[in-house]
């Protein structure tokens, strides 16, 4: 139930207006890294819309997560500039390093979640990788693997 207390706190800063749905979802996700079923129900009550309605909106946007995320999020850019400069090799190398199976994005120990993202706007320094909030440019496979190792202990 602690989850709901957190969500309720967020809801107090919003009016019960449907237009606030996406900002509410964003704030709620920022709290735990994903949207739990309890959080969605609570938000539905607040805005007077059904959980189905919320899922239909939330699942449309790439930003929203419905499962528990790893402690660190690694995002490997797969935008155009990064693609032509070898972003895919970086992604595949990190995927292998984290021993992720196809379709799996979070490691079993919940240390890492791996995401592919289309462009962070640092294209001039492609290929780009972002870990949590830090942007790393001019990536190579070996630098990427070294960074993963550094974050493993953190």
């Amino acid at each position: 139930m602690t989850a709901n207390i957190g969500i309720r706190k967020i809801l107090t800063s919003f009016t019960r207006d449907r237009a606030n749905l996406i900002p509410i979802l964003q704030k709620s996700q920022a709290q735990k890294g994903y949207l739990s079923p309890e959080a969605i129900t609570e938000i539905g009550h607040f805005l007077g819309i059904t959980p189905n309605d919320i899922y239909s909106v939330a699942s449309f946007y790439a930003q929203f997560r419905f499962e528990r995320q790893g402690k660190h999020t690694i995002k490997v850019c797969q935008g155009t500039a990064c693609h032509v400069r070898g972003g895919q090799q970086i992604l595949e190398a990190v995927e292998r390093e984290l021993r992720l199976k196809p379709g799996q994005s979070t490691t079993a120990d919940y240390q890492f979640t791996l995401e592919r993202v289309a462009c962070f706007g640092a294209c001039a320094l492609a290929p780009v990788m972002v870990i949590d909030d830090t942007v790393y440019g001019l990536m190579t496979v070996s630098r990427a693997l070294k960074l993963v190792a550094e974050y493993r202990g953190k």
């Binding site: 032509v84 993202v117 289309a118 962070f120 320094l125």
Partner: protein
């Protein structure tokens, strides 16, 4: 407060800072700078200044666009011109502080150029560098100069004087000024801005909305991010001017969540503008009210499309709807709404600070003014540039960008306009960059992304990349886009995997034409462009994939293989140790062999093989002779195995 009071306050603050007699240091801490390590450099600067007891002011600035040379640090010693240092590392900044700040050696070897009056022997003028020389900086007028988080820096450089002037004009006069400038929308379609404003102004209704489109979804472009990070007030000023001209009552900036620094700096700017009475109630005591709110996009490319964006602000799935009705008459919550791109707004403030005729003096007859472009991909000098319309692609790629990187590589194509755009081959490099010329060759201006492809880029793979993107981002509402792009992607995937059939090319062309004709919005309507233009200009690459099962650029995984040249291998085992899937067999001083069934073609062996051996080769469509069992280095004789 009146504008004059604001201006006086800003000027005296900035002058006091300039004449403080202190050393001033500027560091580019935009996203590019950070990605290149600017924060570590900043850390070292702080430590070194403290260690030597140097009194200096440090100012964070946005990006000047020389992203290839990031991190950038500028230093002004009193009475000296501003020196811009590039490729700065924690090590070189220690040297620069020691040699230039503590002593008087400006270290020309580490400097890129000087800015402002005066010169320093051995250091060129920054704006004489090839990357900057042919640029005309109107939108980017302040980027890299001012502290984006200090409104006084903006005001002291004519900021908000355009708004001050506009508030003394009638709305019709403002629209006439924009009309005279010839400004067209910078978000992609190039619709005349004055005309759009006029529609919205004339639309009946008391409540009207104004939106700044900062979604910037083109994967490979960063014009809007850079402007918002480097000079957010120029965009806000443009919005308030537009709101006054159209009678808008509420503004929104819709910004993509993947650009957190742009959002953060915009928030700071908005707070400051509110405090100074430049946004919000009773703007500059004129009685005009215009609040602005920020909405973060949640990661959907289609939400850059104006009708989808409106749905998204309303809290719904971002699905486009047919137009008409256009947003100008029925937009956000059914009310008249005007949407312009970040760069369009940045131009509006510049135009009102000077005038329309001045702006129209740049560019071509139909495409006036300047345009920013993000140069990326296989080009020497990557970064953000602003050039007058009408400049040729050749000038952009060679004079400004320095040509393709890698001595053994050749220029192949430039992709403009992102997922909606197309690829332009070397034979068209003298093409002028303006809305009409780009459209004529099957591409578009788009928002300004330019990705350079060289001989190591596979055009079929690039087309597949864009199609994968649009197929994933298709909202699914209309069948031509949803089913058509899926079908095209399947065919392209087959081709890149060596399963293409000769009739596939005709099928792709046919599908492409049908999707273009039938799609609901411009996402689908332009989705086939990358495929159509690559077939048009690079058909032989498609044919090599289909008929010879060969990828000439050596990119498509199913069509390439890595081998170890038995004549060159020295048996050092570096590749063996680095192979992530243990696909290499070998032993000390034995010729190593790649087991093709196990190889995942990651290319690690090629990267790690010492340059002096260069024994690993990548091949497509051919197969060299290699030993089938381990033999000692030096014992390999050609055809030994075969005969």
């Amino acid at each position: 407060m009146s504008f004059n009071e604001l201006l006086n306050q800003a000027t005296s603050e900035v002058e006091a800072w300039q004449n403080s007699g202190k050393i001033r240091i500027f560091i580019g801490t935009g996203t590019c700078g950070r990605a290149a390590g600017a924060l570590a450099v900043l850390d070292t600067i702080n430590k070194e200044l403290a260690r030597h007891n140097i009194e200096a002011s440090i100012t964070h600035v946005g990006c000047i666009g020389l992203c290839y040379a990031e991190p950038l640090v500028d230093i002004i010693k009193p009475g000296q011109p501003r020196i811009c240092y590039g490729y700065v590392t924690p090590e070189t900044i220690v040297q620069i502080i020691n040699d230039y700040i503590l002593k008087d050696n400006p270290r020309p070897d580490l400097a890129l150029g000087t800015i402002g009056e005066g010169s320093i022997a051995g250091i060129p003028l920054l704006f004489e560098l090839p990357m900057l020389k042919s640029q005309v900086r109107i939108v980017l007028r302040n980027c890299g100069y001012i502290d984006p988080e200090n409104i006084n820096h903006y005001i002291a450089r004519s900021g908000y004087s355009g708004l001050n002037k506009a508030l003394r004009m009638t709305p019709d006069e403002i629209i006439a000024e924009i009309k005279e400038s010839g400004l067209r929308g910078r978000g992609g379609a190039g619709f005349p801005t004055a005309q759009k404003w006029d529609f919205c102004r004339k639309a009946p209704g008391k409540e009207k909305y104004l939106i700044c489109n900062a979604d910037e979804g083109d994967p490979g472009a960063f014009m809007n991010r850079l402007l918002l990070e480097g000079d957010p007030h120029s965009v806000l000023e443009g919005m308030v001017i537009g709101a006054y001209a159209m009678g808008a009552t509420q503004g929104y900036v819709y910004c993509r969540a993947e650009k957190p620094l742009a959002i953060a700096r915009l928030r700071v700017a908005l707070e400051q503008a509110k405090k100074s009475g430049l946004v919000g109630n009773n703007i500059l005591d004129s009685g005009f009210n215009f609040p602005i709110a920020i909405r973060e996009g949640a990661g959907a490319f289609v939400c850059g499309e104006e009708t989808a964006l409106i749905q998204s602000i309303e809290g719904k799935r971002g699905m486009p709807r047919p137009r008409p009705p256009f947003p100008a008459t029925s937009g956000l919550w059914g009310k008249p709404t005007n949407i312009n791109n970040v760069e369009t707004w940045g131009n509006v403030s510049a135009i009102l600070q000077k005038d329309g005729a001045w702006y129209a003096g740049f560019g071509t007859e139909k495409s006036k003014g300047t345009k920013t472009f993000a140069l990326a991909g296989k080009i020497v000098r990557t970064g953000l540039i602003e050039v007058p319309m009408g400049i040729t692609l050749r000038q952009i790629i060679y004079d400004i960008g320095g040509g393709v990187e890698g001595k053994d590589k050749e220029f192949k194509a430039i992709q403009t306009g992102g997922p909606s755009g197309g690829c332009i081959p070397a034979s068209l490099l003298d093409l002028q960059v303006d809305y009409e010329s780009l459209a004529q060759v099957g591409s578009i201006m788009g928002s300004g992304g330019m990705i350079v492809a060289d001989s190591g880029t596979c055009m079929v793979d690039l087309a597949k990349f864009f199609l994968t993107f649009v197929q994933a981002e298709s909202c699914g509402k209309c069948v031509p886009c949803r089913a058509g792009t899926t079908q095209m992607l399947d065919i392209l995937t087959d081709i890149t995997e060596g399963k293409g059939r000769p009739e596939d090319i005709a099928l792709l062309l046919d599908l492409g034409d049908n999707i273009k004709a039938g799609a609901l919005c411009a996402l689908g309507g332009t989705a086939p462009n990358s495929v159509l233009t690559t077939i048009k200009h690079f058909r032989s690459e498609y044919e090599a994939h289909i008929n010879e099962k060969r990828c000439p650029a050596g990119v498509c995984k199913n069509l390439i293989a890595f081998y170890i040249n038995p004549e060159k291998c020295q048996g050092c085992s570096i590749c063996l140790r680095n192979c992530p899937v243990d696909a290499i067999s070998g032993d000390k001083r034995m010729i190593h062999i790649i087991n093709q069934d196990q190889c995942i073609k990651c290319g690690t062996c090629l990267t790690v093989c010492p340059v002096k051996f260069s024994a690993v080769v990548k091949m497509s469509g051919e197969k060299p002779e290699v030993p089938d069992k381990l033999i000692p280095v030096g014992s390999w004789k050609k055809s030994e195995v075969k005969e």
